[in-house]
Symmetry: C2
Subunit: 399 residues, 2 copies
């Protein structure tokens, strides 16, 4: 912390303020956490992933008897006033966080982003319509492949040849005139590439984004999108609930063969209660939304995320090639930080030693290998600092 503050004195006032204030806050937060929440590991999992410790404590405290109801939140009718208050507050808080315009519906669904890979073309396209896909990683690729069942899917750019390490400029896109939508994956969890600006589309083409792994990590101008979707289990809750934010005028045009549970109209008309929703997962998301608001909303969250990511990327870049991040600097993810070392053996040793120090789930995705540190909203700065300290110590022992 001393080093950090010394440097801060030499940088411009605004940045200095940020650098000086943040460590104090984080230091305090870390101390509080260690006192109150000891026995926890530092969890770098890509998802299901770390949740705020205070949120889990809260859920634990009321799991047996929810707010004097004499029941667990898991045991209540989804149509009763208790659960209705939970889902309505969760939606209100999410609307507040993302400043979701009135002409957008918020749906709490099941089945993960993968279910939306089918539902989106089924709801937005006829079988003759074209949907464009920018493929910046595995998830965008899966979304494209599934859409081909229900419309004319077209890849307008792919980063596959460069192992998904970049995001195209607008000029590189060969978009289809009249395409119904352009699909992007806002943050590729496996490859660690994240959009900083979103592509423009023609007037008749909607922008659709899978935001599963950076949802609520920063402000987003929802009005630029026709539809945003996100599995909860990265940044806002446990696995089992998927959020869909969709412009209201797009609802009600599903293909006739659409399964009833994939028809947005059904869910919109029934306020996500057509059948029994995943009540506990929605409740957990609501607790997380409340926590994000209490931290100052998404502007404040983004500042913390930028600081955490800078710490880690700076350590990689300062390692003189000992650690390498394959992603182009301008599109590096704030959430998922992949890096490699000289050999798989060395990476395995790094992960083993990290684990011995309580830093877990650092292994890269089985499809790409290497190391991946996922540093979602709930990862405290102190967790990243410990990882950076391990990186420096490990490097010192191996050169």
């Amino acid at each position: 912390m001393r080093v950090c503050c010394t440097i801060a004195k030499e940088v411009p006032p605004a940045a200095a303020h940020k650098a000086a204030a943040a460590p104090q806050f984080e230091e305090q937060q870390q101390q509080e956490q260690e006192q109150e929440y000891g026995s926890r590991v530092i969890n770098f999992a890509a998802g299901p992933a770390i949740l705020p410790a205070n949120v889990i404590k809260k859920a634990q405290s009321e799991l047996y008897n929810w707010r004097g109801s004499g029941m667990s939140i898991m045991e209540m009718s989804h149509r009763g006033k208790e659960f209705l208050s939970v889902i309505q507050q969760a939606e209100a808080d999410l609307r507040d966080l993302l400043k979701i315009p009135e002409n957008y519906e918020v749906l709490f669904l099941q089945g993960g982003a993968t279910t939306q890979f089918s539902a989106i073309p089924l709801n937005l396209c006829t079988s003759d319509d074209t949907a464009d896909f920018i493929v910046t990683g595995s998830w965008g690729d899966k979304a494209f492949k599934e859409a081909q069942k229900y419309c004319k899917g077209k890849v307008v750019w792919t980063g596959k040849a460069e192992k998904y390490s970049s995001i195209p400029n607008q000029s590189e896109l060969n978009v289809t005139v009249g395409a119904k939508y352009l699909h992007i994956c806002a943050n590729e969890t496996i490859h660690g590439v994240e959009y900083k600006d979103y592509p423009s589309t023609g007037n008749d083409t909607l922008l659709v984004a899978d935001m599963s792994s950076n949802f609520c990590s920063k402000p987003v101008d929802v009005s630029k999108f026709g539809l945003i979707y996100a599995g909860a289990q990265k940044n806002i809750g446990p696995a089992g609930v998927t959020i869909v934010i969709v412009r209201k005028d797009l609802i009600g045009k599903a293909q006739p063969s659409t399964p009833i549970m994939m028809d947005y109209k059904i869910h919109s008309e029934n306020r996500s209660l057509y059948n029994t929703p995943p009540c506990f997962a929605i409740y957990m998301c609501g607790l997380v939304f409340g926590d994000l608001l209490s931290q100052g909303g998404l502007e404040a969250i983004e500042r913390k995320n930028v600081e955490k990511a800078e710490l880690l990327y700076d350590a990689i870049d300062a390692s003189e090639g000992f650690y390498k991040c394959p992603v182009e600097k301008n599109v590096r993810s704030l959430m998922n930080v992949p890096f490699t070392m000289a050999t798989p053996e060395m990476e395995a040793q790094f992960i083993k030693e990290a684990s011995a120090q309580g830093m877990v789930q650092l292994k890269g995705h089985r499809s790409v290998g290497g190391i991946r540190a996922s540093i979602y909203n709930a990862m405290p700065r102190a967790g990243v600092e410990r990882l950076v300290a391990h990186m420096k110590a490990f490097q010192a022992r191996h050169i």
Copy 2:
């Protein structure tokens, strides 16, 4: 309890044993529950519904730090050894409980029974195949309507004209020769009618059953069925996970337009881990399965359920028409007991007074009105006894 034991002495030895042993056990259970688990209401909800108090206590105790892992069960990779041990144990225990043959797959899916209304015809039929439906209530009707999108659905019997109060004999069924499957709803949650014996089908026709609201309430000969499915939130866990038990040779023939998340082949090949499953809900089901085994398995559970249901139906039938159950006696549900009174006003008063005594969620489904007491596995006998006492006292005040 005294009355109960006195009566027991006058009935045949086997029944006497049952009647004498059960109250002792239940009395002890009730005492333990009141000591250990005070502050809980008696929860007659139809689903999401009551869960075993000891299971919720267990989940609460390890919610923050699952078995020394330093993480919540909600924060773990679904591919890590910790969660794999959870889902594998849950499956093994369910196989043990239901004696599921080796040639059946067990899948943990999302989206509720309603998702299966689409998935079943998509997986089992071509669009030219016929599927027969016996409609004994609202859920069977919904299953039929959805199936018509994907095959030739045909109603071979419906109880609609009698407001779904019975189940047909084999001779009443006008089944289709060569139908791909015959669909039944084993227990209609809203109407309270339950199959005691299952219909026979021709050699080429599979029997398919929605067992959402009586799953694991009694033994079932799985080998009689092509497919059994059940949303968890009635009898075995929280909302958000659906169990599908399907004969292995039926997997792999999905229609080309089947959404990837509805293709049983995908889930079978990936052991329910194609994408992130609803980990917490699966964990909870696993705890419930373990609890059922520790109680002696489904034979023991069925005995308790029969006793609880008899208590309640006997009270209704002994009321000289003050309380009326619309369901034919031979198919009354062990799980959902609907009854009516002379006027809706009187029913409302009954529910209000019950609530004041800690008995909640007794209101009938909005589509049928009246009163409904759901007495799933986790409802202690003492809860039913209190309801019966309220019924008698209420009647005494109103005649």
